[in-house]
């Protein structure tokens, strides 16, 4: 009895503590509702990511830098260089052509048919990658494709006089452009819509020319949005696999195809973890690009929200 009087806190918690505990219990019960989601994401997203990261640094006998050091091999460095070149070129071409198309749409009537059709088509074509796109180009400029045959029979022009380039880097560049341009239209159109006609009028009323308007007003305003969209296009091309896999069956010019061969060939011992090291390299490149993108889009939002 005396004990209870001496230490009231222990036997009967004060009202605040009891309330605090109840809040804790409700919170814990609330958190239970999110358990299925987190359990799922941990199993199928976090664990695979960890497998890649940890696998890149482990071999048969635990930790080893061998896989990551193997990234320095000439053929892997070449693959990374080619992947980056492919992504850079298609991002640049896609960004320029896409921006031109987006600008053409902005000058059209806002609710007009042209704009609606092109935006809808861009939405579909930006998703149009993979095997079907590869076959579309095989039907177009493959060895017996529509355009190849037409050019040869009617105009006597051999598309592949200097070798078949469709299955190599130039071919990949052409095919990738097909989904990069529509993606640029979707990403860049909102930024162009944010440009107000009043800014042009203001430039003109101050005596500025069209050239000055584009270089001093619209250009600097659109530059972050343009660069950000280009980064997105870069990441898009860099991580694409299916189109290249369906098109290129001989040799592995780019990183995703090198990973394919590391995954499917079990001849060389330790190749599995080399694949993980290359995958980690890809993640790092994409992460840097996306971080830059996030930075730029914050800058864009200031003017062209």
């Amino acid at each position: 009895m005396a004990d209870v009087v001496d230490t009231p806190d222990l036997a009967a918690p004060g009202p605040e503590i009891r309330a605090g505990r109840r809040v804790l219990i409700t919170r814990a019960r609330s958190l239970l509702g999110t358990v299925p989601f987190f359990a799922y994401v941990v199993t199928f997203l976090v664990i695979p990511t960890l497998v890649v990261v940890i696998g890149a640094f482990t071999g048969d006998g635990g930790f080893t830098p061998a896989n990551v050091r193997a990234l320095g091999n000439a053929y892997i460095l070449d693959a990374f260089a080619r992947s980056i070149l492919l992504s850079l070129v298609t991002a640049a071409i896609g960004a320029i052509l896409g921006a031109l198309l987006a600008y053409a749409l902005v000058t059209a009537k806002p609710g007009g048919v042209l704009r609606r059709v092109v935006t809808a088509a861009s939405g579909v074509l930006a998703q149009f990658g993979g095997v079907t796109l590869a076959f579309a180009f095989l039907a177009t400029i493959g060895l017996s494709g529509f355009v190849t045959v037409f050019l040869k029979d009617r105009l006597g022009f051999d598309l592949y006089a200097n070798g078949v380039w469709l299955f190599e880097l130039p071919g990949l560049m052409l095919v990738y452009t097909y989904f990069q341009v529509p993606l640029m239209v979707i990403v860049f159109l909102p930024a162009l819509d944010g440009i107000r006609p009043q800014w042009r009028e203001a430039t003109e009323s101050l005596g500025g020319s069209t050239w000055q308007y584009w270089t001093r007003v619209a250009g600097p305003l659109l530059a972050p949005a343009f660069l950000g969209a280009m980064l997105l296009l870069f990441a898009n091309a860099f991580s694409a696999y299916a189109t290249a896999a369906a098109l290129v069956s001989q040799g592995n010019p780019i990183v995703p195809l090198q990973i394919r061969s590391a995954l499917t060939s079990e001849v060389v011992l330790g190749q599995q973890n080399l694949g993980k090291a290359m995958a980690l390299g890809m993640v790092l490149v994409v992460a840097v690009v996306m971080a830059l993108y996030a930075l730029l889009s914050r800058k864009t939002a200031r003017w062209l929200a």
């Binding site: 799922y40 939405g123 998703q127 177009t140 097909y178 394919r260 993980k276």
Partner: protein, 264 residues
Amino acid sequence: MAGLIARRARRQRVFRWAVVLVLGVFFLLPLIAMVEFSTRDGAQAWRLLVDWPQLSETYPDLATGIVASLGQAVLTALLMLALLVPTTVWVRLRLPGLRRLIEFICLLPLTIPAIVLVVGLAPVYAWVTYFLGGSSLTLTFAYTILVLPYAYRAIDAGLSAIDVKTLAEAARSLGAGWGTVMWRVVLPNIRSAVLSAAFLTVALVLGEFTIASLLNRDNLQVAINLLGKSSATMSVAVSLAALLLAFVLLLLLSLFGGRRKAAE
């Protein structure tokens, strides 16, 4: 001034049509070429495509792939909805502090290329095969992760448009349980967002190749790729058909989206 504006409008019109024309040719040419290529030896390939018994007899791999893809699409849409809708609603109602985290996690797959994910998924799928067998339908698990960013954005936009908290509290105060709140109050209110998410999921799953191919499972794209090695005409015809299907799906999606915007 009026002359200047008229001249600029004319110049813009010329520029507009020049750009649209040149790019239009670039974008339509492969589609036209696919039609031409697939009809070179008559409409045989197309006739086969609409004749299911004949098709599954002539190209059993393709038939397996189509069935597998449809199954994956339906299962992925269901799993995605079962996972995302209750969680996002629950977080909005009870744990608003977790919203950023959920959003971050859902958008994460955008920064992890599928080819990287498949490298890490291989050991996970060894366990999936151990527990559930090697059926192609097990790809549903990986696909649900792949569609998470798109589905999350659609559903989140839908939930933002309604006042979930008030609706849920009103229903609860009238004696509804959480199940009733979900099924009869929240879901009917975000119907178009759910439909958008489901359409996007189906379109993405029907076009997936990377994971299916590298985990040695069947689906439509894997079958088309395999077909390309034996029958070029047929593979182009199936490609075009798959593309048209995706086109219709995404067009329906933009119609739904358009109507939702118009209603707001």
